[in-house]
Amino acid sequence: MSLTTDASRTAPRAGKSRTASATSPAGGSEKPPPRRGTRARRERIFQWLFLVPAVAYMALFFGYPVVKNLVMSFQDYTTATFFTGEAPWVGLANYAAVLSSSLFSTSLLNTALFTLGSILGQFGIGLALAVFFQRKFPLNGILRSLLLLPWLLPLIVSSAVWRWILDKDSGALNRFLGDLGIIHTGVPWLTSTSLALIAVVGVNIWIGIPFNLTILYGGLQEIPDELYEAGSLDGATGWTAFRHITWPMLRPVVSVVLVLGVVYTLKVLDIILGLTNGGPANSTQTIATQSYDLSFHEFKFGEGAALGNALVVISLVFAVLYLRASRRAVDE
């Protein structure tokens, strides 16, 4: 819940307008009293009509998939199912197969490294840039908004461009490093099992910086100037001011950014498929890409579903942690 209120600047006004509508004489249509019961019921039906399409859509495109996925994960659901219509129940066999495969531990580790690396990089650089853009200088606004571009480009476009930049033989990065004399032979960024994950994390950091920058910048703008003025009287400037004023005040926004970042990074698929397709030798395979692979390449939809559910559980754990953290923040 706090996600919307924290992020939207309109939140304070929202509260006001709601109280305004509550205190003003209730809706004009209810003023003439005759046959109140039917009127009220008609009113309620009308109100629901506005919500029905959205509720139906959310149920069909989010609710149904979650339930269907759960059911499929207990079934032997393969290509044969599409012809025979039969998907025999297999209990926990899909989970057993998926969790015991040696690939699962690789994917789990890669997912953790990918998420941790991406979040640290995006958040760290995003925060540094947000603090930098707090300074007043000409063209600040325009330059800051142009930084959004990496975030707005289709992910598959970014993947294609980076594939070319990171190319071993004629990529721009290797040529640049070569011209500087740092390297003498092409670095196989995307084709070496030890470097591919680092390269993929790097690209994902590049994509995520604008989002972190924008939200953190908004949060910094909300911190009242008076706090800094009062702080500077006590000698708190620079790093001290950041530690004792900025960081505590920014904490709620930080938790939103980090949790959203984790949730979004866990389910990343486009970038990895576009850059390495999970390779080389599964060195960039994550739970999301492996789930895709199981369903759409090996046509083991049951196992793909089981792995997808594992991903949902991991996301939910973070969501719960987030909700608990934000509730504690409210309590304090």
Partner: protein
């Protein structure tokens, strides 16, 4: 609110040193975009030495891209426009209801929207594939419009609702007193008043559907319906020996994002601050 206005109101001191640093940061961050444009203008086949600046721009990459991908670009355009219409038609009334009526369960609805953001796309795709297979929606434009709207509808509801919360309730109540029904008040008062938020939501839903890759990848099995994102993926899926046409296609696929960023500044800014959900 007030602090931001105060900060904006204080005169900006001319500190061009910081501006230079910011330009440098921007140059590093946007280098890949520059490189995409540069590579798209290189002559075919000279993959070994791409020059740093396209001194002699060559448009054969674009010629190839257009001859091979024009149909896919059209498909993407139709799907994205369809998704905008569908998303706004579903999200605007819902946002209005959530902002104005004290519907029981409104809090639950908002919570459900937030939770929906945590559901991985691959989970949705996995289930939709089987359902679409039964319904005959695989390889169809309506099927992709419906699925792609999953990127946009929750976001649109949040953004439009946040805006409608800030609208004076008295205006709508006045209209209702004048005898306007719910639907008329909605169409003739609420919609025109929330124009800006509808444009913001529309722009983003366009971009989300245009950028969609996962549903294009999983919900199509033939060449019949092929969005441009999938066209690019097929290019880079095999060994690439003609990067200029791949990059030319990438440039063409980036046009909506670039146009939106340049031409629709204020709406994009409203979208990124208004709803932290992508």
């Amino acid at each position: 609110m007030t602090t931001t206005q105060l900060k904006a109101a204080t005169p900006t001191r001319g500190n061009w040193g910081y501006t230079a640093l910011a330009v440098l940061i921007l140059a590093v961050m946007l280098f890949p975009v520059y490189w995409m444009v540069n590579a798209s203008l290189q002559p075919n086949g000279t993959t070994l030495e791409t020059s740093w600046i396209p001194l002699q721009p060559d448009f054969t990459g674009y010629a190839t891209a257009i001859s091979e991908q024009a149909g896919n670009l059209g498909t993407s355009l139709i799907i994205a426009l369809g998704s905008v219409v569908l998303s706004l038609a579903i999200a605007a009334p819902a946002a209005y209801a959530l902002a104005y009526f004290k519907v029981r369960g409104a809090g639950v609805a908002l919570f459900a929207i937030l939770i929906s953001q945590m559901i991985p796309g691959i989970v949705v795709a996995n289930a939709l594939y089987t359902a679409y297979n039964d319904l005959g929606l695989l390889n169809s434009i309506p099927g992709l419009i419906l699925a792609d709207s999953a990127h946009g509808i929750p976001f649109a509801i949040l953004i439009i609702r946040a805006f409608m919360n800030g609208m004076p309730a008295s205006v709508i109540e006045a209209a209702r007193v004048d005898g306007a029904g719910h639907i008329r008040a909605f169409c003739s008062i609420v919609i025109p008043l929330s124009r800006n938020s509808l444009i913001t939501a529309g722009l983003f839903t366009f971009l989300f559907a245009w950028s969609d890759f996962l549903f294009a990848l999983t919900l199509t099995t033939t060449e019949a319906v092929r969005p441009v994102t999938l066209g690019i993926f097929q290019y880079i899926g095999a060994y690439v020996n003609d990067w200029s046409s791949v990059m030319a296609t990438a440039v063409l696929a980036s046009i909506p994002a670039i146009v939106l960023l340049v031409a629709a500044q204020k709406y994009i800014a409203a979208g990124t601050t208004g709803g932290a959900v992508k």
